[in-house]
């Protein structure tokens, strides 16, 4: 298997040339190839947005659902069949506005899925409005005088929620992005990756050129140290850490649930109702 075996040969990506999403497509397909996961055992679920078109370009099982609702969908897939590798992929508007509560609670439950967000600080598909991660002062269609709302901090949010794997990557550094993706998929539990992914069409301020000199690789940080991770989560501006902030082992929801722990639901026998079952109503 090589990365191209994970791509849909009929449908080429429709993103603008230079869009950060291309890097994520490469990273996901390279990571799956490296991990030798059979495409039949992969589900990539998405919401709505430029980024969320991802599953259309893949030769895995895919589901392009509703804006903001990809995470509960992905959890449903995982709970139905825990043998599958489940990746939820969507935008920052999708995940940090409409889907915030799902993100929080699914992370808290430690459902064993990988959630990757293409964070371009704008709504790409709907032609460039300010997203929850838009920096103060960003001029967009909906903030002509500059954004005045404090940006959402995805890393701190994921840590607060109880995600057991929290990372940031950058579309301008595909090899690193791929490495992080491999680790996220391998991690047992809820893995979150916030990918700084420039929108070359609607966000000229936060471009590759802007981010390239600012990002630096996290090295030698103790990924089991929550306080350190939390502190790093607030580092932004001239120095932007990318890499794994936090990674710990904790039982997944599937490990703990009294029904799911007996194995993939899809393989468990359906109960045949008998006369004896009715006796409890006597």
């Amino acid at each position: 298997m090589n990365m191209n075996d994970y791509k849909n040969k009929r449908v080429p990506p429709d993103w603008c040339p230079g869009c950060g999403n291309f890097a994520q497509l490469s990273a996901i397909t390279m990571a799956l190839a490296e991990l030798k996961i059979d495409p039949k055992d992969v589900v990539v679920a998405s919401g709505i947005g430029c980024s969320s078109n991802m599953p259309e370009f893949l030769n895995t099982y895919g589901f392009h659902g509703l804006h903001g609702r990809l995470v509960p969908f992905a959890a449903g897939v995982k709970w139905a069949n825990s043998k599958l590798t489940v990746i939820a992929y969507g935008g920052d508007g999708d995940g940090f506005f409409e889907g915030t509560q799902h993100f929080y609670h699914t992370a808290k439950r430690n459902v064993d899925i990988t959630y990757m967000v293409s964070d371009n600080q704008v709504f790409g598909l709907t032609t460039g409005q300010a997203s929850p991660t838009a920096p103060i002062g960003l001029r967009t269609k909906t903030t002509p005088d500059g954004n005045i709302e404090t940006p959402f901090n995805p890393i701190a949010f994921a840590l607060n929620a109880g995600a057991t794997f929290v990372a940031r990557a950058f579309s301008g550094d595909v090899k690193h992005l791929k490495d992080i993706t491999v680790r996220a998929i391998k991690h047992k539990g809820f893995s979150f990756i916030d990918v700084i992914s420039p929108c070359v069409t609607w966000n000229k301020e936060n471009s590759y050129e802007y981010f390239r000199p600012r990002v630096y690789h996290l090295e030698n940080n103790d990924v089991t140290n929550f306080d350190q991770a939390y502190k790093l989560a607030f580092e932004w501006g001239d120095h932007i850490p990318i890499g794994v902030f936090y990674e710990v082992e904790r039982p997944t929801y599937e490990d703990l649930d009294e029904v799911l722990k007996d194995g993939p639901l899809v393989e468990q026998k359906v109960h045949t109702l008998t006369e004896e079952d009715l006796e409890e109503f006597a």
Binding site: G65, A75, V77, N81
Partner: protein, 588 residues
């Protein structure tokens, strides 16, 4: 006019919320069921945990009882208010008539001043007897129930066993209760005369609520996952499933909201597991967008929608059928959907079970619409026919050549592939797509693909209509007048038909079990009738309007939107007025 039958008894337990009215009522239903009688019940309560007025009515007979009935034989009043409300002929509690002549009122003898009315007032030392056994004041309910069992002529030993089961492992407490009940039983017989009911006791029955029947039907239909956010009156199904999760191998989860619930079960169904969600109108409103997602991606989905009166939070502990417009209109665009409305406990079981197959066969959302009355009242059944085959519908073979998830077919049904299946990788999309599932909405917009896909999906409805079973009818053959009914009004409507037929009026009813799509045979059933009357537990006659539009008929409309179910005698009176056989009834 209320017809009292020798082989029927109606008992009402009345008190304040928190007095244990409901559990007392349930003990009665179970006692009747085990005695080999049919019973049904009605729980009148308010949305407060403690203090508000509450009563529970049980109607039992040796023939099937269709609803709670509007008469009353025995009242067990747990407080003064209960005696007053249910024996004062000027008070009509939500349509339920007060205790009349010859009726028996059992209450504690500390409640004074009840001698004058034309009722058999039977004050008893309920509290004193209870105090002999326990400090727990709820024990006086059990003493009162013992007296009611004596008054209705039921075997005390069966009642005693029900109490023992109720207390389960707490054996000592159970025995105290049995002894107290026996004293109440004996005291009544020593001091008052029983009603002299004559029952033909049959085989023991099972006692089950509508919500439980929906849950059990789903399990029988292969349910493996139920994800729902609590909301009355849908929660009885959720609670039942949560308590039986391990036994039936059903994964049950309360997520962060209803939007999560429905998207989660769509994910599970997509991955090949039968999963279901449920809510009431408010919670269902939040699910709206995802209903269309199931329609568009053709992922099977069963939704249990248990109605309560709206708008908004409405009357959370009351009944109504006001969500039909919402269910029919949920989500943008046209897509196939199928809506069932069970009329009683048995139909709740069978239709939910069937819905599980239908959803997978047609790969589209299927609804079970119920309401508080059906979901929360206990009823009895002889048994369920447990013969059933799970049918997963059209599935793709492994490694299909040139697999098309949305293959254009004559039936509209395309072969499904499930993640994990070799070779059939594809994308399912909420955007319009072609046969492969590849998106055709933006860059490669193709009107032909769009039109063919719309037609393919909608063709599933034609296919379904062909397999629909005939609309159930009641005394329709020679009927000059016909009633249209859907959902839980079935019992009251059928009994109203019985009452009117006993007066020589040729009337019948049709039950609209398939509220969407409508069975074309309804048009024929409504032909050449002197009058068509729709009976609905809502304000505007939601089903009636929709039937009028489809079959070009003009039904007269009888509605009720006070939060209570229909009562058969009151309904029969109203029907008589509408067909011109009776002057308007003045009711306060």
């Amino acid at each position: 006019m209320t017809i009292m039958r020798q082989n029927e008894v109606i008992i009402r337990v009345a008190g304040a919320a928190g007095d244990g009215v409901q559990s007392a009522g349930e003990i009665l239903v179970r006692t009747f069921a085990r005695s080999g009688l049919y019973a049904t019940s009605y729980n009148y309560y308010q949305d407060i945990i403690r203090g508000g007025e509450s009563w529970y009515q049980v109607r039992a007979s040796d023939v099937k009882v269709k609803n709670q009935g509007d008469g009353l034989d025995i009242l067990v009043a747990l407080n003064q208010d209960g005696v007053e409300r249910h024996t004062n002929p000027d008070i009509n509690e939500g349509g339920a008539s007060p205790l009349g002549k010859d009726g028996i009122a059992i209450f504690d003898n500390s409640i004074k001043g009840y001698t004058k009315r034309d009722t058999n007032y039977c004050p008893m030392p309920l509290a004193d007897i209870a105090a002999k056994y326990s400090k727990n004041t709820l024990l006086k309910n059990t003493v009162g129930l013992g007296a009611a069992i004596a008054a209705s002529g039921i075997d005390f030993n069966i009642f005693a066993d029900v109490i023992r089961d109720q207390f389960g492992k707490k054996g000592d407490i159970a025995e105290l209760n049995v002894k107290a009940a026996k004293e109440g039983y004996d005291y009544f017989l020593a001091n008052y005369k029983p009603l002299g009911k004559k029952f033909k006791f049959g085989k023991k029955k099972y006692m089950i609520s509508g919500g439980m029947a929906v849950a059990l039907g789903a399990v029988a239909g292969g349910l493996k996952m139920y994800v729902a956010y609590p909301m009355t009156p849908a929660s009885s199904a959720l609670h039942f499933l949560a308590q039986h999760a391990k036994k039936y191998g059903v994964f049950v989860k309360i997520p962060e909201d209803e939007i999560s619930a429905i998207n989660t079960v769509i994910g599970a169904n997509y991955a090949g597991v039968r999963a279901m969600t449920g809510s009431s109108g408010g919670g269902f409103a939040l699910m709206t967008e995802a209903v269309g997602l199931s329609g568009m991606t053709e992922v099977p989905l069963v939704i249990y929608e248990a109605q309560r009166p709206g708008p908004s939070t409405g009357l959370p502990t009351k009944t109504e059928q006001g969500d039909l417009n919402q269910v029919l209109g949920a989500s943008q665009g046209d897509f196939p959907r199928i809506v069932f409305a069970p009329g009683d406990i048995e139909e709740a079981f069978y239709l939910t079970r069937e819905a599980m197959n239908i959803a997978e066969k047609y790969q589209t959302p299927v609804f079970i619409m119920s309401d508080l009355y059906l979901a929360e009242h206990y009823d009895t059944i002889d048994s369920f026919d447990l013969n059933f085959t799970i049918d997963h519908g059209l599935r793709a073979k492994d490694n299909e050549q040139d697999y098309k998830r949305y293959l254009i077919t004559e039936t509209g049904i395309s072969p499904r592939a499930i993640p994990g299946q070799p070779g059939n990788m594809h994308n399912e999309d909420s955007d319009e797509h072609n046969e492969y599932g590849d998106v055709v909405s933006d860059a490669v917009t193709n009107p032909q693909d769009r039109i063919r896909m719309m037609q393919k999906r909608m063709r599933k409805m034609d296919t379904y209509i062909e397999e629909m079973k005939p609309t159930p009818t009641y005394h329709i053959e020679d009927a000059e007048y016909v009633i249209i009914q859907w959902g839980s009004t079935k019992g009251a409507v059928e009994e109203a038909v019985d009452i009117l037929r006993s007066k020589g009026i040729k009337i019948g009813a049709i039950e609209v079990k398939n509220v969407f799509p409508l069975n074309p045979d309804i048009g024929t059933l409504l032909k050449n009738k002197k009058k068509i009357i729709a009976v609905e537990n809502n304000y505007s006659g939601q089903l009636s309007k929709y039937i009028s539009a489809q079959f070009l008929v003009k039904p007269d409309l009888i509605t009720k939107y006070d939060g209570e179910a229909f009562y058969p005698n009151a309904l029969a009176d109203e029907i008589e007025v509408r067909i011109g056989k009776k002057k308007e009834v003045i009711r306060e």
